[in-house]
Homo-oligomer: 337 residues x 2
């Protein structure tokens, strides 16, 4: 790889000092028009690009945000698009790392991002993560960190969240209103906050309507279609099968749908189904799956905005918490006449 042109190269060929070149390049005073012109034209000719590493050393910041997500599915991809949007506007670059839901990778990625001297982090934690020391080490150092979507109540930091409890409540209440009496909860990994909050909303809705919750209607599995399929398949074999299912993600809902269809049951009459995320494909299915819509793009933008707020008031030790409201989109999978 050939060397990129540096300020020294320009200085040497023009027989002036690097200081002058630097000043000329950044439009500072104390440079004559001729030298400035000469520098600028040579810089263009050599396709000069400032070396961020050198800048980083000197200025102690890199104009980059480390973004750490569990995966790049629809939700996170659109959230990242939102982050990217406002970061780019502010002249910042984002470094995206995915943990693949693995704790070890999350560890490695935070370490690497830290080594890369990112100015701060925007994080959604992996489903495996149970200890948060690696994040605490960041906040202890007063590095700006914003958590979005997936977080933990053990973490004290700025957060951009969905009101997951409300989402679970809306979904469950809707199922109750459709006449469901025995509603199953299909959740993600047990230590995942978003899943638990949605479960809390589910349970609250049941109590609100004086329906007693049944332990064997509550299932947890990982976020794969197959796992959901097997979980629901199992539940449907019970002598008292559910007549409604609330799944904490659309992918899980799809797995559930497959099991329901295979069992020869009809939707929504035998079993009504509600998912979560409102991914653009769920309205194409037959039946279209009702789902809780979360504003992923907006969450991304807000995360980046609170990040920059944090960056500005670093001394002020505040941590903002933004909570967005979800919205139920009703489709045929749960709409009984």
């Amino acid at each position: 790889m050939d060397k990129l042109a540096t300020i020294k190269d320009i200085a040497k060929t023009l027989k002036i000092s690097t200081s002058t070149v630097s000043r000329a390049l950044r439009g500072q005073p104390d440079v004559s028009v001729e030298t400035k012109k000469a520098v600028l034209s040579l810089a263009k000719e050599l396709d000069y690009q400032p070396n961020k590493a050198a800048l980083s050393l000197l200025k102690k910041h890199t104009q980059t945000i480390g973004v750490l997500v569990p995966n790049l599915d629809y939700f996170f991809a659109t959230a990242i698009k939102g982050i990217d949007e406002v970061a780019m506007e502010a002249g910042y670059t984002v470094m995206v790392c995915q943990s693949n839901e693995s704790f070890d990778r999350e560890l490695i990625n935070t370490k690497r991002l830290l080594e890369s001297q990112v100015d701060g982090f925007i994080i959604s934690i992996s489903s495996e993560t149970k200890s948060f020391d690696h994040f605490k080490r960041l906040t202890d150092r007063h590095i700006p960190v914003v958590f979005f979507d997936r977080t933990s109540s053990d973490i004290i930091s700025s957060k951009v969240l969905l009101d997951n409890e409300d989402g679970g409540h809306q979904a469950t209440e809707h199922l109750i209103e459709q006449g469901c009496k025995r509603i199953a909860f299909l959740g993600g990994p047990k230590n995942l906050s978003i899943s638990n909050k949605r479960k809390q909303g589910y349970e609250n809705a049941l109590t609100d309507h004086r329906i007693k919750k049944e332990k064997n209607l509550i299932v947890h599995c990982n976020f794969s279609r197959e796992a959901a399929y097997f979980s629901i398949q199992k539940i449907l074999k019970n002598k008292k099968r559910p007549d409604g299912i609330f799944a904490v993600s659309d992918r899980l809902a799809i797995g559930a749908m497959l099991a329901i269809k295979e069992a020869g049951l009809s939707m929504p009459d035998d079993i009504a189904l509600v998912g979560f995320n409102n991914e653009p494909i769920v309205d194409l299915l037959n039946p279209g799956i009702s789902s809780i819509d979360q504003p992923a793009f907006k969450m991304g933008k807000l995360s980046a905005q609170t990040f920059f707020d944090l960056l500005k008031n670093q001394d002020a030790n505040i941590s903002r918490e933004i909570i967005l409201k979800p919205k139920l989109i009703v489709r045929e999978s749960s709409k009984r006449k």
Copy 2:
């Protein structure tokens, strides 16, 4: 933001030189066991992380790959997962930037990645891009660049591609075998190579089977479901409507499907449909959409591997071109009895 611990901090508190600390940290000789132990324990206590910027300045490489993609949809997300896998294994970090299909953003992103001193690039070009000077400037400097999926024949570089022509051929031939006589082609933007190659395969298949191609059955639109919907809606109003459609992406195929359904036509009997990408949702639709499967994950891994090959033999001015074979997955949307 508090300062991260540096080698100097360790040296100062231990009253030794930075050289010794550096040696101790990297397990080099010329360090006594006691000092080494002292350095290591203090480093752990201070949670010392080496400063990549300083390393970059000195060593002229950053152990990072710049990945430039048009978006983060299913295909690119899984490809990136593949890239990430082998990059991580090699101790490299990837910086992902998305152009959002915009030429300007592509320009800005390559510039920023270059400033960040990435060791090379893995690129899939935006659909807007018609000029490739910004990429040529990279290869001229002998910076390792691998293009994958979307590229241009005007670019001389290593590439990891799908045999798109073969894909188009397979899809079209399959439709012909199902008895289709008037097959429409639903393509992406006109300057996009992958779309044009698939079109070439489509046309070749037609000629192979002595079917004359009809200009008004060939449509181009951008990669949105809506655009595809309107395009097909328009075509179906023709007095001689098509009896088969080959769409160059699943999203376009879905748009087509919506138009077909709305027109009250049946699939596959009135119109047979084949998409491209084989995204995991197309088998859930009703009918399941036949699609050309491309090994996205494998393409990502291969891209990263050829990248590292390039990195090793930088002097050798070779450029490898890997071409993968696609595979047609037949579903109900095109399977006539």
